[in-house]
């Protein structure tokens, strides 16, 4: 499918707009010191924390997001539209707004945070807060992925399995979840990437303390003012991860084991 020729210059301009900043970032990098900068203690600490929290939040996203995807299919009409709008909001919410929202829910004076605080459980300024913020922003990817996969496949095999005497749990485990494998993988990869890149909500809600809450994006944010070379080096690491994730998540159907 190739459109009229006048699309070409616009497409080239679009490509330039997207590619130029990425090339700019690479041009700015001090390649000779790149390895030293990435393996500096602050960078490694931030990367390690990012990795740990992103893995944890991806796990949470799977455990909670998959049931949400099912829930979305279970309701209909306006209820579904409204529920979907709410669940997907973090996808398009400005990061700082997400941070404020989390703050007023789980912060020390928040709706849920205050009672927790009274009970001696403090979320703010902990690694758990980072995971919470990341899960909040990453969840929609899984919900969308699961919901659209469920919508696309219908429920015929599940219905047939029921006539064979299988319980709902058995049908879920043996029929539905295996069929959702590719969608689950895509959702998890995108959620992981989003979690890794989470910045606004973490900054507003979790704070920034080396090894505890200062993830790679926060380290970049801090280093940007004091050590731009280190900031660029860390940015490149995240850039590579982002490109890899997109390549995996939007891999050709043939590579997803789809027959």
């Amino acid at each position: 499918m190739s459109g009229p020729r006048w699309l070409v210059p616009l497409a080239l301009l679009g490509a330039l707009l997207v590619a130029a900043p990425l090339v700019g970032l690479m041009a700015r990098a001090s390649w000779g010191e790149l390895w030293t900068l990435i393996t500096a203690p602050e960078s490694l600490e931030a990367l390690a924390l990012s990795l740990r929290t992103a893995v944890a939040s991806t796990a949470l996203v799977i455990v909670l997001g998959v049931p949400l995807g099912f829930a979305l299919r279970a309701v209909h009409g306006r209820v579904r539209a409204a529920l979907r709008a709410v669940l997907l909001a973090p996808l398009v919410l400005p990061p700082v707004v997400g941070g404020l929202a989390l703050l007023y829910a789980f912060g020390r004076r928040g709706l849920i945070g205050a009672p927790l605080e009274d009970a001696g459980i403090s979320v703010a300024y902990t690694t758990a807060a980072v995971v919470l913020a990341q899960t909040f922003v990453a969840m929609p990817f899984m919900v969308v992925s699961i919901e659209s996969a469920l919508a696309a496949r219908g429920e015929r095999r599940e219905a047939i399995a029921a006539t064979l005497g299988a319980s709902r749990t058995r049908i879920l485990a043996r029929i539905t979840l295996p069929a959702l494998g590719p969608a689950l993988a895509t959702g998890a990869v995108l959620a992981f990437a989003r979690a890794l890149g989470e910045f606004g909500a973490t900054l507003t809600f979790a704070g920034s303390l080396a090894g505890v809450t200062r993830t790679a994006p926060l380290e970049i944010y801090l280093a940007r003012e004091t050590d731009p070379d280190a900031a660029v080096a860390l940015s490149l690491v995240l850039l590579v991860v982002a490109v890899a994730v997109v390549a995996i998540a939007y891999r050709p159907a043939a590579m997803r084991g789809v027959r």
């Binding site: 020729r5 006048w6 070409v8 210059p9 080239l12 301009l13 703050l103 912060g107 020390r108 004076r109 703010a124 300024y125 900054l203 507003t204 809600f205 979790a206 704070g207 920034s208 303390l209 080396a210 809450t213 200062r214 926060l218 944010y221 801090l222 280093a223 940007r224 003012e225 004091t226 050590d227 731009p228």
Partner: protein, 247 residues
């Protein structure tokens, strides 16, 4: 055919860009890059400068001093740079004309949420593990100053978070996420929902605000005049009212 269309597009873009650039270089416009902490106080100062120089339009751009220095190093077109600290001014020393002039000073204070719910009284209280405190990270100027002051006072701070700038510290205090934070006196003065708890001996660590005309300015006289204006009577009054010290 394809190439010609692309070339036409390129020309159109270039024309649009040069039009913008021409606007910015009008003789009667003065672009001031100023530290974020100057945001409110600079408005009346700019207004009084415009009164004294009819036809001149002052455009101020506020950001963290380090960000602004980076922009200047990358060649941003501007006339005056007003930094929140001398170290940052030193970074652009090659790109300024004349000697930077220190026109204001600032000292640190403890900021607490309105009503001071955790009853914070001294800097030593911030070492109490029961009190949630946030400070600037030692990598940024306000953090350097905080570390110096704590060292002088012999206090080992136990912050819950080390923020990248004053705004983030204030945000956490104002929202009650933190019981206390260390910021500049002027930051408390311009913020709602927080109040200051003075630090004994704060004057030992003074932060100086230098300003300088930039070498890249198209209107060097006007730029120098603005730097001088910052030390003038009108500016001193406004700065003092905002809580700044006057050198």
């Amino acid at each position: 055919m394809r190439l010609r269309a692309l070339a036409a597009l390129g020309v159109a873009c270039a024309a649009a860009l040069s039009a913008c650039a021409a606007d910015a270089a009008e003789g009667d416009t003065l672009t001031v890059l100023a530290a974020a902490s100057l945001a409110e106080v600079l408005e009346p100062i700019a207004a009084s400068f415009e009164d004294e120089h009819p036809g001149v339009d002052v455009i101020a751009s506020y950001a963290g001093s380090s960000d602004l220095a980076a922009q200047i190093l990358e060649g941003a077109p501007a006339d005056v740079f007003a930094s929140a600290d001398e170290a940052t001014m030193d970074k652009v020393a090659d790109l300024v004309t004349g000697t930077p002039v220190v026109f204001a000073t600032n000292t640190l204070t403890i900021a607490v949420p309105s009503g001071n719910p955790a009853v914070v009284a001294t800097l030593a209280d911030l070492a109490d593990p029961g009190i949630v405190s946030v400070i600037c990270a030692p990598q940024v100027p306000c953090g350097t100053a905080t570390a110096s002051l704590a060292a002088l006072a012999g206090v080992t701070l136990t912050p819950a978070s080390e923020e990248a700038n004053v705004t983030d510290v204030l945000g956490k205090v104002a929202s009650g996420q933190a019981d206390a934070g260390i910021v500049y006196v002027t930051d408390v003065a311009r913020s709602e929902g927080v109040e200051a708890v003075p630090i004994e001996g704060a004057e030992a660590v003074v932060n100086r605000y230098p300003a300088a005309a930039l070498a890249s300015s198209d209107t060097p006289e006007l730029a120098t005049a603005f730097v001088d204006h910052l030390s003038g009577e009108a500016a001193r009054e406004a700065l003092a009212a905002a809580g700044f010290g006057i050198p």
